[in-house]
């Protein structure tokens, strides 16, 4: 008859160990549940924002640390499903950057590809991954901030509930998965419980919040709850960019061929 294997712990120690194991299991299960819940919330949020295409005119105000304001505007078009979409931003003002365009090709399994077209020199230039933390044309958005964040590239954790602008929200942390190249080590996001619209993002490098995106003026546009006012704050520079989406339309007929590097030049 085999002897029961001893744990080597006294009886009370075994009890404590058992309690710890149960607690760990419960916490682990809770964490898994929380991760699962968090992922479901984010996926539901992305699902609700789904459209075949989107078009808007962006009016931007860049407010520098010394309160100087510069105005810019761009036209944005996007085609494809969230995370695998393609988008083109083309500046319409100020006059000296009119025609400058950025093509963003998003991927579900890796970082986006980006190309910039500069009409003054008639050349396109690929924006390398290591250059994505650079500010996009003097705004407080970095090149990375202009790509879509597919849920599959992040691990999520539900960390609590808070109200933003008076609306109850889930607070979720997103860690980039291994292989995902990002300047940010962590992103905190707040997603409204009533319509699943993300209303705030905090992007951290190590433990420091470096950029905060606040989304407001949420309107139902063709059945999709959409924030029309985006405010990106660069906390290190103490500057912010306010982007207002005008003439927003979803499911506009568009062609895939208009979202290539060749098309950037063609549509100048």
């Amino acid at each position: 008859m085999s002897k029961p294997r001893s744990t080597g712990l006294p009886a009370c120690g075994r009890t404590n160990h058992l309690a710890r194991a149960i607690l760990t299991a419960v916490l682990s299960a809770t964490a898994q549940l929380s991760a699962q819940d968090a992922r479901q919330i984010v996926e539901e949020s992305q699902h609700r924002a789904q459209a075949n295409s989107q078009r808007y005119a962006g009016v931007l105000e860049v407010i520098a640390a010394n309160s100087k304001i510069s105005k810019k505007s761009w036209e944005s078009v996007r085609i494809g499903s969230f995370g695998a979409s393609k988008a083109v931003l083309r500046f319409t003002a100020p006059a000296e950057v009119k025609g400058v365009a950025l093509l963003v090709v998003n991927h579900t399994d890796r970082s986006s590809d980006q190309w910039m077209w500069t009409p003054a020199i008639g050349r396109d230039r690929r924006i390398a991954l290591q250059d994505r933390s650079t500010r996009f044309f003097g705004t407080d958005f970095s090149f990375e901030d202009l790509e879509e964040r597919d849920a599959g590239q992040f691990d999520f954790r539900l960390t609590g509930e808070e109200s933003i602008d008076g609306a109850p929200c889930w607070r979720i942390e997103a860690h980039p998965r291994q292989g995902k190249v990002s300047q940010y080590t962590l992103t905190r996001m707040w997603i409204r419980k009533d319509n699943y619209v993300p209303v705030e993002y905090e992007n951290l490098i190590k433990d420091e919040v470096v950029r905060r995106l606040h989304q407001s003026d949420i309107q139902n546009v063709q059945g999709i709850w959409t924030p029309r006012l985006l405010e990106m704050t660069d906390l290190r520079r103490n500057s912010r960019t306010v982007l207002r989406m005008e003439n927003l339309e979803y499911n506009v007929p568009m062609k895939d061929d208009d979202f290539t590097v060749q098309a950037l030049r063609r549509e100048q």
Binding site: P94, A95, K98, G99, G122, T134, T260
Partner: protein
């Protein structure tokens, strides 16, 4: 009839598919030293550039543009005719900058007319950029010229092929012999005969591939060099343009810290007087915070010596280390630095510029450039042309 035309133009201008842009740029250049062909210390010039684009339906687009300019030093003609071919030695006072129609359907685009065509990936020198002649009248401050051509582009995001046919050569505009950028030594007086332009066409093709971690292209060109050789029967000299064939390639590889770009082209010629050579560029670039850096080496290997004098800023800036750096101070202000040092140490160009914008339309630029070297070097020969520049631009 005129009223109808005006109404039509007004309707086009108010259409959503009509866009326009342009600027009025005025600059003054100050030279501390006089030069053999210039006893003055200051130049002034103004350029009005206007471009318009109109999309007619889903497939057809029209582009048009005009340049109007004048200056104090007669590098610009005083003739009021409208230039199409850009074959004059001086800059035309009025020129069609571009005028083309483009038809796009699916993966196919055909564009015909006067247009800008750029090939290659590197910035500090672009050996494969054969359809991009330049205005080199001021040598270091140069600008591209459009060419008259038909261009067919076919392909998607990953692979595309570009085929270009141009019925006539558009030459680069090289310094006037009676101006300070000619670089002629003191006491040398030459008379220039009208350039002998070739009559034949030129064509080329380029295949470009965009991969996940690598972009590369192969290109071929057959036609004429847009930079001249000189036929001399002293005191007369005449520019002529040798036949040229080019086999080229370019690539860009994003590495973990930097982006590596490389470009090379092998040039042959049936014109016995012309050199045959390889031009190549290796360039690294990086953006970090508010800084952007581009640096690299441009090299040349001569495979046949043609024994005829030539004027080629492309080759003159080769065999050199080049660096560019830009710093964005804030949304409206920036600094740029540029340096070229020939490997023989006999030619150096260093430039710093400060630029500031006001509101939606105005930008002022101030810069200084220092040129140093020996008369025997392409860059060094301009050692009397160090300058300061002030510019004011209104963009619309």
């Amino acid at each position: 009839m005129k009223a109808w035309l005006l109404l039509t133009m007004a309707a086009i201008a108010s259409a959503q598919d009509f866009t326009q842009r342009g600027f009025l740029d005025t600059s003054a250049t100050f030279f501390p030293q006089t030069a053999p062909n210039d006893s003055g210390h200051a130049w002034g010039q103004s350029l009005l550039q206007y471009e318009a684009f109109y999309k007619l339906g889903p497939y057809l687009r029209f582009s048009g543009g005009i340049d109007a300019r004048t200056d104090t030093h007669q590098q610009t003609e005083r003739d009021f005719g409208l230039s199409w071919w850009d074959r004059t030695r001086q800059r035309p006072a009025f020129a069609v900058r571009r005028l083309s129609a483009a038809y796009s359907r699916g993966k196919l685009t055909i564009e015909a007319g006067k247009q800008f065509i750029r090939w290659g990936k590197t910035d500090i020198l672009t050996p494969t950029d054969r359809f991009a002649p330049r205005d080199y009248l001021d040598v270091v401050e140069n600008d591209f010229l459009a060419i008259t051509a038909a261009r067919l582009t076919y392909g998607g995001q990953s692979n595309s092929i570009d085929v270009v046919f141009s019925p006539r050569l558009t030459p680069s505009r090289v310094p006037l012999l009676n101006e300070r950028w000619s670089g002629l030594p003191e006491g040398v007086s030459l008379s220039e005969l009208p350039p002998a332009y070739p009559g034949g066409p030129q064509f080329g093709a380029r295949w470009n591939h965009i991969g996940q971690t690598l972009e590369y292209a192969l290109s071929f060109y057959n036609g004429y060099d847009h930079l001249p050789l000189f036929r001399a029967e002293l005191p007369f000299v005449q520019q002529f343009y040798p036949q040229m064939r080019m086999y080229g390639g370019d690539a860009a590889v994003p590495l973990s810290l930097l982006t590596l770009k490389a470009e090379a082209a092998y040039f042959t010629s049936t014109t016995a007087a012309s050199d045959e050579y390889v031009l190549y560029v290796v360039q690294l670039e990086r953006q970090s915070g508010e800084w952007s850096f581009v640096g690299g080496y441009t090299g040349e290997a001569l495979t046949r010596h043609g024994s005829t004098p030539f004027y080629s800023p492309e080759r003159g800036f080769a065999r050199a280390v080049t660096g560019l750096a830009g710093y964005t101070i804030d949304t409206n202000r920036s600094l740029t630095f540029e340096g070229v040092v020939r490997q023989n140490g006999q030619g150096v160009f260093l430039e710093a510029k400060y630029s500031q914008a006001w509101g939606q339309h105005w930008r002022a630029t101030a810069g200084i450039a220092w040129i140093h070297g020996a008369d025997s070097d392409f860059l060094g020969q301009y050692h009397r042309n160090s300058y300061g520049i002030l510019g004011l631009r209104y963009s619309f």
